[in-house]
Amino acid sequence: MKTEILKLLSRNAKYTNEDIATMLGKTEKEIADEIDALEKEGVIRGYKAVIDWEKLDGAYVSAIVELNVVPQAELGFEEVAEKVMSYHEVESVYLMSGSYDLNVVVKGKTLQDVARFVARELATIDSVTSTVTHFVMRRYKEMDVELCEAQADCRGQFIYD
């Protein structure tokens, strides 16, 4: 049942316990208890809206920054990852396989903001040996949600099928 609930919530976090209970054929209490447990266990880390900021004046820019890092003895990448993720400009941090180490998504009000942040904060971290910054030009899909206009339902020409 856990995976079923998570599938539904990852599609739409606004489903009520009642909705989920109905769809899965369970009681509301069973669902509430299960979600409680998932939150306590830290499986569910939060609920957020998926926003198309470009629709607003306050659009922000974001960039994917590739960091090369010299891992520390014992701690490996943990220490630098913790340092990087502590900035509020940083949206996500991933340790990567392949040609670089940390993938950092950075956001800011303007291109200059982001560039300044990378130069002043990320590039200056001791163990960071190099940075490559890619600015995002357009978002098509975010967290499974398409950000372009929904295609019209092309069905319904024929109603008796």
């Binding site: 909705d19 769809m23 069905r155 109603i159 099928d161």
Partner: protein, 392 residues
């Protein structure tokens, strides 16, 4: 000037255009309509199936196939029907690939019915059986299935409908629009009546993959005494979300299939080749896609059925297909009034039960081929509609 009434076939001109058509044309002109009207899946055809179609085009496989369909596809259909339902049909002589289940039904009826023959049709059901029967010169004999019997055909109803002229029985299960399914015992009871008769059966099983809960589909031809008289019709539209590919099939004893194949050969030649290549992929590797879609339909089914019952519109649990068929008698409106007012006042489109036969009076069909969010929105509006009706 030419007098068209002199050229046209009266059997065709007498087929009534549906009054509901007009009603849906109104819906099409309105903004912000939430429709629960359509009867086709909202999913895309699974990518690997589309890809197989594309590959066949790239390789230039764009010629006619054998009349009966490619032998590769017929072999896959045979295997599929065996592993899913325990049916045994020989790919060479007992399977015909058609342009959708529709052509299979048309061909089967035309091959069997001659003028004056009676065809027993349970209703409410899909709308094609009656007109095709009439076009063949046959006489439709309607069984109005009852809500209290879960819209199944009962042995008594069948017995009462049979006369010396009965040639054919249509079994449209899992049923559009009622969601009814026939269990093994239900079919056995009918088989008992049909044995020692010369009555054929067309079993329209287009929704066979979409059954829920305890019910899994029982194919009538697997019931004792039924195979020799049954034409099993199925297709790819509903299970694999392939409505526009127009591909189905008919299976049955070779004595029947030989004749249906003649009609197909002259009227159609062969089903679309691209679709046939895609269908092979669907049968080989499509089980997981079907299961994912079925699970999603099942969640929506619970949502919509619970929703209607909460609004006081009694809705029996539909065990198959993708429609809820709630009873609206408590509103005091006829099905058509209900649908028209719901559309005008709340901009929600559902189909009157009467579109599927007179016996559908007092019911409406609401499809759940829509996202859960869409269904929830529609239910809220229907709730407002019921509340306002109660105040009148």
């Amino acid at each position: 000037m030419i007098d068209y009434s002199k050229i046209l076939n009266p059997a065709v001109t007498e087929i009534k255009p549906s009054g509901i058509r007009k009603f849906f044309d109104i819906a099409a002109t309105m903004d912000d309509v939430i429709s629960l009207g359509v009867g086709e899946p909202d999913f895309q055809t699974p990518w690997q199936i589309r890809k197989a179609g594309i590959n066949s085009l790239e390789r230039g496989r764009t010629k006619y196939s054998a009349n009966r369909g490619t032998i590769e596809l017929r072999k896959e259909i045979s295997r599929y029907l065996n592993r899913k339902y325990g049916l045994n049909y020989a790919p060479e002589t007992e399977i015909l690939v058609t342009v959708g289940g529709s052509e299979a039904i048309d061909g089967a009826i035309r091959a069997i019915v001659s003028p004056g023959d009676e065809v027993i049709i349970p209703q409410p059901s899909y709308v094609c059986y009656e007109p095709i029967t009439v076009l063949a010169g046959g006489v439709p004999v309607i069984i109005e299935t009852k809500a209290e019997n879960d819209f199944k055909v009962t042995p008594e109803e069948l017995k009462n409908a049979i006369t010396d002229k009965t040639k054919l029985l249509i079994l449209p299960y899992p049923c559009n629009p009622t969601g009814a399914v026939m269990e093994k015992e239900d079919i056995e009871a009918l088989a008992d009546i049909l044995k020692n008769t010369n009555i054929a059966v067309i079993s329209d099983e287009i929704y066979s993959e979409l059954t829920y809960g305890e019910s899994s589909h029982v194919s009538p031809a697997t019931v004792k005494g039924m195979r020799e008289r049954t034409i099993t019709v199925n297709g790819f539209s509903k299970a694999y979300s392939m409505t526009g590919w127009r591909l189905g099939y008919a299976c049955g004893p070779q004595e029947l299939m030989k004749e249906i194949t003649k009609i197909h050969q002259y009227a159609i030649m062969c089903a679309p080749t691209t679709s046939q290549y895609a269908a092979v992929e669907a049968l080989k590797n499509g089980d997981e896609s079907i299961e994912n879609m079925r699970e999603e339909y099942d969640r929506r089914r619970r949502l919509i059925v619970t929703g209607f019952n909460k609004l006081g519109l009694t809705c029996r649990e539909p065990k198959g297909a993708f429609y809820a068929f709630p009873c609206i008698k408590s509103t005091g409106l006829t099905s058509e009034e209900f649908c028209e007012r719901l559309l005008q006042e709340k901009k929600v489109a559902v189909v009157p039960g009467t579109a599927f036969g007179k016996g559908g009076e007092g019911f409406v069909r609401a499809s759940y081929c829509y996202s859960a969010d869409h269904i929830k929105k529609a239910l809220v509006r229907i709730g407002e509609f019921i509340e306002e009706l109660n105040k009148e």
